[in-house]
């Protein structure tokens, strides 16, 4: 087993931090370490926290973690922030709101930039969560980028998804993105000390009642780029359906955090009922495998298409002699598909 992986299992935080970097950069040793640690995953409760910018996600993570710590549970946090498309750099500032967690060895916080990935997470987020899980943390909290659009990626790796809204952001029903609501297991109306609270809560309730309880799988596949759509789950094999809970919080003062923790516990208990968790993981893995397969196939196919071939085809498309689709067929035919080896 790789030395770093062994150290991670022994609780070495520096080794964990180093391995997170190696995995994030897909450096040599990344696959081996992940393989060595994979059998040790599957124990953490993975909670996603998403919602529009400034809704209070990081502040909530701070308060939630403190509450979990009084229960002696250990917590790892993965906080994702956007990479600037112009420079490729990023400012990772979520820790600013988590200063209460400093000095606690039962907490590990890691910031990550999206590096061009869409959907509110980074490409390496899933494997990073696996490392944190293998390191033995009881809970892994994943804060997504707050773009307020379609951060449904989180539903593909979290077991419990919190969607955080704030008054004044969500009272216009139009502003509440249906996709983001559909992935919510728990809706947190944070900044409950702000005016407009009742409107927001009413709006969210209405949205929840209007929307039939769609299963997360449907949302995951329909917003995703999966090649085939995972089988929709009927109410019968997913009984009883989870109805999202609305919780009001003031994260800055810790108000409502106990109720939020209760809701998270209730959802976790629901998952452990009747094999829900196993079915959820099965669907998430199905989507992950399709993604990985697509990426790997594309990479291998592209090894056989030179930049020169590509630009000849593009020229023909520009001359209107080929459609883009015909160009793809031409490339596939030229590869004698099915016979390529490395």
């Amino acid at each position: 087993m790789s030395a770093l992986a062994t150290q991670v299992l022994q609780g070495d935080r520096r080794a964990l931090a180093r391995l997170l970097t190696i995995v994030e950069n897909a450096r040599e040793g990344s696959d081996d370490a992940l393989a060595a640690l994979f059998p040790h995953t599957g124990h953490a409760h993975i909670v996603g926290i998403t919602g529009p910018p400034g809704a209070g996600k990081s502040t909530l993570v701070n308060a939630l973690t403190q509450a979990l710590r009084t229960d002696q549970k250990t917590v790892a946090i993965l906080a994702v922030d956007p990479t600037s498309p112009f420079s490729g750099g990023a400012i990772l500032g979520d820790r600013i709101r988590m200063r209460d967690l400093a000095g606690d060895t039962g907490v590990f916080i890691r910031s990550m930039a999206t590096r061009g990935s869409l959907g509110g997470l980074a490409r390496a987020s899933r494997d990073a969560v696996r490392l944190l899980d293998a390191a033995g943390y009881d809970h892994v909290l994943v804060e997504t980028v707050g773009a307020g659009q379609n951060e449904v990626e989180i539903a593909r790796m979290a077991q419990t998804v919190l969607v955080v809204e704030a008054p004044g952001m969500g009272d216009d029903v139009q502003a509440i993105k249906a996709g983001i609501l559909e992935i919510a297991d728990i809706l947190v109306v944070n900044k409950a000390d702000h005016p407009g609270l009742d409107n927001t809560v009413r709006g969210l309730k209405m949205m929840l009642e209007l929307g039939h309880p769609a299963s997360r799988t449907q949302v995951m596949s329909h917003h995703g780029r999966a090649m085939s759509v995972a089988a929709p789950v009927s109410a019968s094999d997913d009984q009883p359906l989870w109805m999202p809970i609305i919780v009001q919080t003031v994260a800055t003062e810790g108000r409502g955090i106990e109720a939020l923790l209760d809701a998270i516990r209730a959802h976790r208990a629901h998952l452990h009922l009747d094999g829900h968790l196993q079915r959820l993981e099965h669907r998430q893995l199905e989507i992950e495998l399709q993604e990985r397969l697509r990426d790997a196939l594309l990479a291998r196919l592209l090894e056989h298409v030179s930049a020169q071939d590509m630009s000849v085809l593009i020229e023909r498309i520009q001359q209107r002699r080929l459609t883009p689709n015909q160009a793809v067929e031409t490339m596939l035919a030229g590869l004698r598909f099915g016979q390529f080896e490395d």
Partner: protein, 140 residues
Amino acid sequence: MSSDRPIRVLIGKPGLDGHDRGAKVIARALRDAGMEVVYTGLRQTPEMIAEAALQEDVDIVGLSILSGAHMALVPRIREVMDSSGLKDVPLIIGGIIPDADKQVLETIGVSGIFGPGANTEEITGFIRSLVAARDQDRPA
């Protein structure tokens, strides 16, 4: 080694003064130079800075100190970082540091000191060369 991924920097603001405009300006400049900048906010203790540097596995730590308390803060930060296993993570400082203090700080292991007049290209270039040099003697 450093060209295939963004350099990760921690910008820390130790001490009790309540302004972080300077720290934010440098954080943005480093981001615009393609680096990933972990910014931890105001009033960081030496322990908080070392802990964040460890968890974030940054390539380098930059401190913004305008309070004049650098001689009290910086040696302590270097010491806590060293004892946390971060001996190989370089430390640079931005702020108004008198020449006499500069020499002392350099002897305790501060790699670079930049005054308020330093331009950002100078700083980003310095960081790049430090990280490249470190990657050379550290196995990947």
